[in-house]
């Protein structure tokens, strides 16, 4: 694993051109920082895994200035320039750390010949499965073969036969013939998940990737092996043969599984999501993601999906739904059950509604077990967003006791519920049947939506844009990948129209307009605009919340405050 320790830079010469790169990088990373044209092809090297150096694809020529052994002075050539002592054979770039004055040749005949040779060897036993291989289109071997392959094979013997269509685990299928033995998946299991189930057996051309006897690749991170596999050996059983990757549109998004907020890429075609993969963000999730987070998109096609505005169980249009909701809110006695699944923007508008109606506000906490990696204890994506929006001052409890009391006392006559199922968080249904009008905002049908007087179906995180604040107070943006059900308007528009009734404020046409309002009124978000939120996210100041006892324990990128102070 390459870790940059210092801010220092060193000067190296790449193909005769001097370049400054951070100290401590290996040749592959240094060339990546130079640009795409100097890219060193590689298979086994992965920036977040240890270096194995077994694919031999990243061969480059390395040289250092020659020095006189006795005096230590630089030896100069006829023109007065330092003479370079080239290592007589090419060396692998992944395990060569750059040093001051180092010379690298990435395009010399020797280097190209080496790559061509390695490619030919790799292709000898690689099956011609590209037409049926799911990796086609994002296959490193395919890409580099186009550049360094011969175009035909000199190998006239039969190719190796190895097991195909092997089930490695519930979510991963292995095709051993395609494997180029780079060992990325093995290292991932050993180093990241600490679940050592994969390994090579046999030697030479018999060498085969397999699961250890009696074990299977079933941990919650197994699909990351599919992502890091440079060829089509490991494929996702779920995505297998569903769609070719070149048809899929990629949208940057954020995982909503827990407060970790893994950065994701949503792959969709014509309004249908086909898969979700992690997006590299070294401050949040490195290059990994949970298997459970990848399946979350399936809920948007669920049968329980709410697809129409309803009033008393009857379909209505949005205008009359908003009108009726406004009428109920204007009567007074409003309670609001907010949600940590709502985006920062929705919470901001909700905060305004709460302020204007003097409603009683409460939220609940959703806790689960953390796995110390990318699943934290807080199973909501945006609890800290509510804190930032000042909807909350303290951490919420598991059960909305204040609201229950308000309903029992008859103070609360109208209850706005966001995403929560009241019956699951300890609000007795009989209580609701009594005298409370429920206005429900959520995307899936549940007991509460059945009870609700007015239902506003909301869009899922894949169908709208917005931001979440994750466990480290990083403001992260998610984009719209697919259109929502026909006829639904975005959640912020619904909330804004509700708010407009509460107090005549000018509306907005785009989320960027809303953000200018947010930035004006919120201390922590001052100076931020929608465009300024990069795909890496923005770190917010969190000193204000230091006293809060967040439920998260140590995981991949999070340390509890107590631990931080201890170090």
């Amino acid at each position: 694993m390459i870790q940059i320790q210092t801010e220092e830079t060193v000067t190296i010469s790449v193909d005769g051109k001097s370049i400054n790169v951070p100290k401590g990088l290996n040749v592959i990373e240094a060339m990546n920082s130079v640009g795409k044209e100097k890219e060193v092809p590689h298979y086994c090297y992965h920036p977040k895994l240890s270096i194995a150096g077994n694919c031999r694809m990243c061969l480059v020529e390395i040289g250092t200035p020659m020095r006189n052994r006795e005096t230590g002075e630089a030896i100069l050539d006829e023109e007065g320039a330092p003479k370079i002592g080239w290592i007589p054979k090419p060396v692998i770039g992944c395990s060569t750390i750059i040093s001051e004055g180092m010379h690298v040749r990435t395009k010399s005949p020797t280097v190209l010949e080496s790559r061509n040779g390695v490619t030919e060897f790799l292709l000898i036993n690689h099956p011609l499965d590209c037409p049926i291989c799911d990796q086609a289109g994002e296959c490193r071997l395919q890409e580099f073969s186009a550049e360094h392959g011969r175009g035909y094979s000199r190998f006239i013997e039969d190719k190796n036969v190895k097991p195909k269509r092997t089930r490695l685990g519930p979510r991963v299928t292995l095709d051993d013939e395609r494997c180029i033995l780079c060992s990325r998946c093995i290292r991932f299991g050993q180093e990241i998940v600490k679940d050592d189930v994969l390994g090579f057996v046999d030697r030479g051309s018999y060498s085969t990737l397999t699961c250890f006897p009696g074990k299977e690749l079933s941990n919650n991170y197994s699909l990351n092996t599919v992502d890091i596999c440079p060829v089509g050996a490991l494929t996702s059983t779920d995505f297998r043969f569903k769609m070719r990757v070149w048809f899929l549109k990629r949208t940057h998004s954020v995982c909503t599984e827990s407060s970790v907020g893994s950065n994701t890429e949503i792959w969709s075609r014509e309004g249908k999501i086909y898969r979700i993969t992690p997006r590299r963000n070294d401050a949040v999730n490195d290059t990994w993601m949970t298997d459970s987070g990848r399946g979350l998109y399936k809920s948007i096609e669920s049968e329980d999906r709410l697809k129409a505005y309803t009033m008393d169980g009857l379909t209505t249009d949005i205008d009359s739904a908003i009108q009726s909701a406004r009428a109920l809110i204007d009567l007074g006695g409003v309670g609001v059950l907010g949600s940590a699944f709502s985006s920062v923007e929705e919470q901001f508008l909700l905060k305004n509604i709460v302020d204007h109606t003097k409603a009683q506000f409460e939220m609940v906490q959703h806790l689960g077990d953390g796995d110390g990696l990318l699943v934290s204890e807080d199973r909501t994506p945006n609890l800290r967003g509510a804190l930032v929006n000042e909807l909350l001052n303290t951490l919420p409890t598991k059960c909305p006791n204040l609201l229950i009391k308000g309903i029992e006392d008859g103070v609360i006559k109208t209850l706005l519920v966001f995403n929560e199922d009241l019956s699951e968080i300890g609000v007795p249904l009989e209580l609701l049947k009594k005298s409370v009008n429920i206005i429900y905002f959520g995307s899936l049908r549940n007991n509460t939506s059945d009870q609700a007087k007015i239902v506003f179906p909301t869009l899922s995180v894949f169908e709208k844009e917005g931001t979440f604040v994750n466990q480290n107070f990083i403001l992260q943006k998610f984009n719209k990948a697919v259109p929502g059900p026909a006829g639904l308007v975005s959640d912020i528009e619904v909330l804004n129209r509700l708010l407009l009734g509460a107090n005549d404020q000018p509306g907005f046409t785009h989320i960027a307009d809303l953000w200018t309002k947010i930035a004006e009124s919120n201390e922590l978000l001052k100076g931020i605009s929608w465009e300024k939120i990069t795909s890496e996210g923005l770190m917010l100041k969190q000193e204000k919340f230091g006293a809060l006892n967040f439920p998260e324990t140590k995981n991949l990128k999070y340390k509890p405050v107590a631990e931080l102070q201890a170090t």
Partner: protein, 183 residues
């Protein structure tokens, strides 16, 4: 600005100015044409000779053993300029069809919208399995737009069987069974 060359034009003579000689010669030409042989092909009764490599409608072909060749790699769908092709890939059920289980993939549906097709032949050129060919059929008709979207069965029926010397998948199966690849 580039240098321009001005062409000298010969001034017209008087007879040329009247246009009458030109008109007369034009009339003579057309009159002569009236007695030449006609070039009309009486289409429905007479059919043109379809040359080899003619690009008619795209069809799916079977190999000489009557098996579907397409493995639904979707390259044709990708390359198709008017987006006329729609493929729904699926896995071959190994238990139902053990003969072809090793091919793994086949199209569940394969639709070509013949109203969109522009007969460019890129699908044929790109196909790695030589499964799609533009054959000699060029006259299509239908009463509805839906009718003009040809499905997999219709395309296979139109395509028929073409000679194939490769038998790529058979060789692969043979190697798998004999395990001959392992020295």
């Amino acid at each position: 600005m580039a240098k321009t060359k001005v062409m000298e034009r010969k001034p017209l003579t008087f007879s040329e100015k009247t246009f009458i000689p030109q008109i007369a010669s034009g009339l003579a030409t057309t009159f002569g044409n009236m007695f030449k042989k006609t070039v009309t092909l009486q289409y429905p009764e007479e059919r043109p000779v379809i040359p080899e490599n003619y690009r008619g409608i795209p069809t799916l072909v079977k190999d000489p053993k009557g098996r579907v060749k397409c493995v639904s790699c979707q390259l044709c769908e990708f390359v198709c300029p008017p987006k006329a092709i729609r493929i729904n890939p699926s896995e071959i059920d190994g238990e139902e069809d053990p003969e072809r289980a090793h091919i793994e993939k086949e199209p569940a549906t394969f639709d070509i919208n013949m109203l969109r097709c522009i007969y460019c032949g890129l699908c044929q050129e790109v196909c790695p399995e030589e499964a799609i060919f533009l054959q000699d059929d060029f006259s299509l008709s239908g009463y509805t737009r839906e009718e003009m979207v040809y499905g997999k069965d219709k395309l296979l029926e139109l395509g028929g069987t073409l000679p194939d010397r490769h038998f790529k998948w058979d060789k692969k199966k043979l190697a798998e069974e004999s395990n001959s690849g392992h020295h």
